[in-house]
């Protein structure tokens, strides 16, 4: 899925734009735009992770930490210091970038399992900090009173307005990411993924690229976290736990890690599973997630975007 066509993107854009109007007219799904806000927020994180996992071939089991950093920096700066939310959002991304640099630079020299465990440990440490530093974060009870977003007096104060804000940002990031993938940087990433010795021999500074992608994915996660905070106006640490990091992994695995569409599809499906379709199972949705992850890993290693390829293979026989 290397040549990313303009047609699918346009179709997708159109669908996103008209969706709230459609949902408005069908009462069974009139709450879907709210769910779609979350789908968009998760999609932002997923796109960064997809670049990290699918293209740079690295694994992070701690990305909830960056999501949380964005949310908490935004919350703290706006609630405790009265800063402009947009400034707070930017600050969150900067903090996330710095943290990602500090954690990523040594971690990404590690291979495979070591990296997985380093990100896992990092994610849990940040989660513990959110819970323990009550004076800053409000501890397990969380922080409330987080203001909404507005620009030049226009407030994004309804579900529909926030929906368009989030998905507008998603599209900008989507295009940016595709541009990167289709550029020399994307080529270098694919080279790293294919053969590190050959990429090195051709002058690709592998560590540097891995760190750049890691930082990028952290900034996207932070942006998502800030958007989340300003939407719900309330955050607490339990949102940013290990299980969320694993959910992110499931999104990527389910959608397919080698394509940016995989991030979109995976995040969309898991969002609806979380908020809508798994309600019946209550707390046992955990089992469903585990099963999905296992089945996808065994039977669909390329995720759902790999399905057309599989079908083509069958038809050939």
């Amino acid at each position: 899925m290397l040549r990313i066509g303009k047609l699918p993107i346009t179709i997708f854009a159109v669908l996103i734009i008209i969706f709230p109007w459609i949902a408005d007219h069908i009462s069974a799904i009139d709450h879907y735009p709210d769910i779609m806000v979350f789908a968009g927020i998760y999609c932002l994180i997923a796109m960064g992770l997809s670049l990290l996992m699918g293209y740079a071939g690295q694994i992070s089991i701690g990305h909830a930490a960056f999501y949380g950093i964005g949310a908490y920096v935004s919350a703290i700066l706006t609630v405790r210091y009265g800063l402009n939310p947009w400034t707070g959002m930017l600050a969150g991304m900067v903090v996330a970038a710095v943290v990602a640099l500090l954690v990523g630079a040594p971690s990404l020299k590690l291979k495979g399992h070591y990296l997985a465990m380093a990100t896992l440990a990092f994610g849990i440490i940040v989660y513990i900090i959110f819970n323990e530093e009550t004076e800053w974060t409000g501890g397990p009870d969380g922080m409330s009173g987080i203001p909404g977003l507005s620009i030049f007096g226009f407030g994004f104060d309804s579900v529909e307005k926030y929906y368009y804000l989030v998905w507008g940002i998603v599209f900008i990031v989507f295009i940016f990411t595709i541009n990167v993938i289709q550029s020399g940087t994307g080529r270098a990433l694919r080279a790293i993924h294919s053969s590190e010795p050959a990429a090195s021999a051709m002058g690709v500074d592998i560590s540097r690229f891995k760190v750049i992608v890691f930082v990028y994915s952290a900034m996207l996660a932070s942006l998502a976290g800030s958007l989340y905070a300003h939407y719900l106006n309330f955050i607490n640490p339990s949102t940013f736990d290990l299980f969320f990091s694993i959910k992110l992994l499931i999104m990527i695995a389910l959608g397919g890690m080698h394509s940016i569409w995989g991030a979109v599809i995976g995040s969309g499906l898991i969002t609806f599973l979380s908020y809508e379709w798994l309600h019946y199972f209550g707390e046992f949705e955990v089992i469903v997630y585990g099963a999905i992850l296992l089945l996808v890993t065994i039977f669909l290693p390329h995720g759902l975007v790999g399905v057309p390829g599989i079908v083509k293979g069958w038809l050939r026989r």
Partner: protein, 314 residues
């Protein structure tokens, strides 16, 4: 996921005046006990890792299952310790076998990434199943030899602590004999060294992998059974145990058994002293910080080979 059960049971419950020295001794013995659990988890990691180069993220779930299944046999069914203990180990070993059969073996194009994800998936499933069967409450087990605290130089120690440390010693001895003196054990070591050569001389590598999972599960079960009387057990304890156990394995040098023991005891002690002297809220963070420091500065650990960690064919 915050550790919400009463860890004062672990970290100093004496009501008399405690001198600093005996307080420190208390922390130390607690640390060695907790460390023994981490060491057992680390040993389990190493067994699987040595044969397959897989890190089993579900390792901690075996400990959890050990504790809860023992509760089932010993408390719910009322079986005596002598019967419940081996029955539990058998069942958890079965879980290990299932893990290999259902999650690892079916993967057609195993790569580091997919195997990591597979074991993560397995750990979620096991955790979910445990929540389904036992719910979210912590469960208790009667201590093997009662709860009369023993006074050691001013430190107040539960007798169960010695059971934990004792079982670690037993496991170490048993494994040494197994790997050095028995044919199967030597076959497993051969697989660890060179799987291709091993299969050429007729060793069934797949069976050795299965055996490594079974053995790891069994050891994990022992850890769970012996620690539950001290700190209870609930369905979601597995993750932290796995991460800390991995920290112990890495600290000691991945693949090294003496390393796993030493690493476990060190990490347990650091955690115990940290929780007692610095901050109990950050208790879990200490082991994690050690893990990250080791990974960043000396990934080969104490006994590991630098070449191994760098030229690893991951």
């Amino acid at each position: 996921m915050v550790n919400h059960h009463p860890h004062f049971l672990f970290y100093g419950s004496g009501m008399e005046k405690i001198t600093l020295a005996s307080q420190l001794l208390q922390y130390l013995i607690t640390g060695l006990t907790v460390g023994s659990i981490y060491a057992m988890v680390a040993v389990g990691f190493n067994i699987i890792y040595n044969v397959t180069e897989i890190i089993n993220f579900a390792q901690g779930e075996f400990v959890m299952l050990g504790g809860l299944i023992m509760v089932f046999f010993h408390v719910t069914l009322g079986l005596p310790l002598i019967l419940a203990f081996p029955a539990t180990i058998l069942l958890v070993t079965l879980a290990g076998v299932l893990l290999d059969r259902l999650a690892i073996r079916p993967i057609r194009q195993p790569s580091v990434l997919t195997l990591i994800i597979a074991t993560i998936a397995a750990s979620i499933l096991i955790k979910g199943a445990a929540m389904f069967i036992w719910g979210k409450d912590p469960y208790d087990l009667p201590a093997f030899s009662g709860r009369n605290p023993i006074n050691v130089l001013g430190a107040v120690i539960q007798p169960q602590y010695f059971w934990v440390i004792g079982f670690l010693i037993i496991i170490v001895i048993a494994l040494s004999i197994f790997f050095d003196r028995t044919i199967i054990g030597k076959a497993m070591s051969a697989c660890a060294d060179n799987a291709d050569a091993a299969s050429l001389v007729g060793i069934d590598v797949k069976r050795m992998i299965l055996l490594s999972f079974a053995l790891s599960a069994g050891i994990g079960a022992v850890a769970g059974i012996t620690v539950t009387p001290i700190s209870l057990m609930e369905y979601d304890r597995g993750v932290m145990l796995a991460v800390k156990g991995f920290g112990a394995a890495i600290l000691g040098g991945l693949g090294s058994f003496p390393g796993a023991i030493l690493g476990g005891l060190i990490i347990g002690s650091i955690e115990s002293f940290g929780a007692g002297l610095i901050s109990s809220g950050y208790k879990d963070a200490f082991a994690l910080i050690v893990l990250m420091v080791v990974l960043f500065f000396k990934p080969s650990g104490i006994f590991g080979d630098i070449e191994i960690s760098r030229i690893k064919r991951f």
